[in-house]
Amino acid sequence: MKKDQWIMGIETSCDETAVAIIKNGREIAANVVASQIESHKRFGGVVPEIASRHHVEQMTIVIEEALKEANLSLPELDAIAVTEGPGLVGALLIGVNAAKALAFAHNIPLVPVHHIAGHIYANRLVKELTFPLLSLVVSGGHTELVYMKEQGHFEVIGETRDDAAGEAYDKVARTLKLPYPGGPHIDRLAQEGSDTLKLPRAWLEEGSYDFSFSGLKSAVINTVHNAEQRGEIIAPEDLAASFQESVIEVLVKKTVIATEEYKVKQVLLAGGVAANKGLRKALEQAFSTKSDIDLVIPPLNLCTDNAAMIAAAGSIMYDKGIRADLSLNANPGLDIELYN
C-alpha cells in the first residue's frame, strides 16, 4: 500500500494568514484562514505595513490550529509548501520565513509555490484535473488565461495589459461609494440592475487573449461625471450591471475562443473574483452546450486566498522534485512559468 502524502501549505501574500494541510494532493485535512479584512476596511484597501504586522501576530497561531485540526505533528509532514510570490513583499516574507524555520527545525523538505498556481490548483480539491486544460484566473491582482498541458506546467496565453479585473471592480466600487472590498457589492447590485449604459468592451487586436480594463474604468468614471453635470442620476444598479456585463462578456468570450483553439478538455475558474455570481453564471451558460468540455468552478472559500490551494499545488511541485533551500526569498514578481 502506498504511503499517504501530507503537505502543509502556508500563504501570506496579501491580507490573509493561512495554513492548510492536504492529504494526497486532493483531500483537505485542515484549512485555517485568519482574515484581516476588518482592520483594512477603514483604510479602503490593504495597507502593506499593517498586513505584515498582522501576519507576525497570527502566523504561529494559525500553524498550530491547522496541525490540531488535521490531528498531525510536524514530523509527519512530507513537505511544507509556501507562497513565494507574487504578492506584497513584506507580507510574503512572513510566510516564507516561518516555512523555512519549520523546515529547518524538523528537517522537512521546502517547496516554493506560485500564488496563481495555487489558485488554479484549488480546483483539484474539487475535481481531478484532465489535460490539456485552460484556467481563467481573475483576482484583485491578476487577470489571465493559463494553458496547462500537464500537471505543474503553466503557460500564460493572455493577461491584462493594465488593471486586473479585481482592481477595476475596486475603483468602480469607490466611484459608487461602496464600502471596501467593493467587488461583492457590485456583484450584488448588478443582479438588481440591467445593462443599459452599453459601456465599451476591450477586445484588443484580433486573436489576442490579453485583457484591458483601464478604458472601461475611465468610461464608468466619465459616465458618472457627465450624468452629474447634466443633473441626471444613473441608478447604481444599472451602472454596476453595465460595468459587470462589460467585464464578464470579454472574460467569457475570450475563454471560449481559447478553449476552441487549444482544444482543451477542462476549463477551470480561479482567483478571488471567481466568487462573482455574475461570472459564474455566464461561464456556466457559455459551456452548458459544450458537452466535451468540463467546466470546474471551486466553492467560494477556495476561490479567495487560502492555503489549501497552496498545499494542493505544492503536492504536485513536490512530486515534480521542486525544492527550495533555506535561502528562499519572497519574490513579489515571481513568474508562473519559472518552475515548468
Partner: protein, 235 residues
Amino acid sequence: MTILAIDTSNYPLGVALIEDNQVIGEYITNLKKNHSVRIMPAIQTLMKDCERTPAQLTKIVVAKGPGSYTGVRIGVTISKTLAWSLKIPLVGVSSIEIIAAGAGRHFDGYISPLIDARRGQVYTGLYEYQSGELTTVKEDRLVLSADWAAALKEVNKPILFVGNDLPLHQAVIEETLSSQAVFAAITEHNPRPSELALLGKDKQGEDIHSFVPNYIRLAEAEAKWLEANGKILKG
C-alpha cells in the same frame, strides 16, 4: 543549556550559540544585504559548524527592535516559529540594549546606542552598568538627535555614544555635549549576538503566539488615520 540568538533588526546580521558559560559560535556581518536570504543559511551553517542540532536548543533569544520593520519581522518570525515548533522558551531583547551591553561593560557612565531613523531622528535609550548588571536609565524611544543631546545635558555623567550610525549624528551631539560625550570605536558598533544571548539567558520565556516586535512607531497609515479622525472628532 544551548541558546540560539538571532538579530536581523538592522543592517548587522547576527547569530550566536552560547552554552553554559561559553560562547561556542558567533557570526556577524554589517552589510546592506537581504536578511531574508541570508539569516536561515547563517543559522544552519553556525549550528553545523558547532555540531549542534535544532533539537538540542533550549532557548531562542531574538532582537525585537526597534529597527527596520521588515528586518525585525524576519528575525521575530523565525524565532517565534523555531521556539514554538521546538517547544522551547522565547525571549525578546531590545535591539538598542544589545549594543549598550557590548560597548559599555567597562565604561563608567551612561551608554546611549544610536540607530538612525532618518530625518534627524534616532532610536535610542540610556543604559548603565550597575555592579555588572545592565540597567535601563531612560526607555528606548524615537527622538531627534538634537533634542536627545539637549536632554542629556541635564544628566551629570559622561555618556558613551555607540552605533554604526554615529557619524550621522556625531556633530550635533559634540556641539551640545562637548566633553561629556564619549564616542565608541568602530569595533564596538555592531550589536554582538552573543551579548543578545547573554541578556536573554536568565530571562523568563514570553508568550510565543502573542510575541511581536517593538516597532516603537505606529504604521504610517495608522498614524495618519488616527490624526485625521482625531481632527474630525475635535471638529
